[in-house]
Symmetry: C2
């Protein structure tokens, strides 16, 4: 069993880049610790560590928009991973966009260019 | 001018996901601070903050493998960006691979699957 390097940052978290397994679109970035990493490998569903709620987070646990793991890649320093996933519900962003990266930088301003897939109020409530 | 949220982490760094502007392959992940962000916008070449050397880093300054910015995307929390780049020299990884993510997780082990583009000893010396 090869291991990731969680010791590099004080909070023992490393970033996971989440990419659509077919289109290669980057959907989001979240953080994992050892527990989230193990849960992801064991279940085949993307788990993260929520920095805001300070707890293990199965992506999709409230929205149903689970991410099914198709492949995982590790970088040269073992301190970043890519999860290539099938995004259920077609949207990764809690704001209802397919990708969290729904804004493009144009002349220093952030312009919305992404695709809105669902109404967050209907999925998460108010 | 819209702004990124550098205050979220203690070190005032946020991750930049680097993606090939044509194939959408993820090439690497590095960190930026306000200075690296401004330099990138001003020059059109990817700049980062090197955590190991603790200094501003023009990617390619020693290898010549500069990254020409084609587009930049910002996430919902303004604490992660995507640089879509043209990678000069065809390799982003200092180990000579096209992508830093040259290993795939297979049954818990990291197997090399990526394409080796150059010999690091020839590019960086020993």
């Amino acid at each position: 069993m090869d291991t990731l390097n969680f010791e590099k940052s004080d909070d023992r978290l490393i970033p996971a880049i989440v990419q659509d397994y077919k289109s290669r679109e980057v959907l989001m970035l979240a953080y994992i610790n050892q527990e989230a990493w193990q849960k992801t490998l064991q279940t085949g569903k993307a788990h993260y560590w929520s920095r805001s709620r300070n707890k293990l987070w199965l992506k999709g646990e409230s929205s149903g928009h689970v991410q099914i793991i198709h492949a995982i890649f590790v970088d040269c320093d073992q301190d970043t991973v890519i999860y290539q996933v099938e995004q259920l519900g077609d949207a990764a962003c809690h704001k209802g966009y397919r990708s969290c990266f729904f804004r493009k930088v144009v002349d220093g301003r952030f312009e919305t260019v992404g695709e809105l897939v669902f109404d967050p109020e209907k999925v998460y409530g108010k």
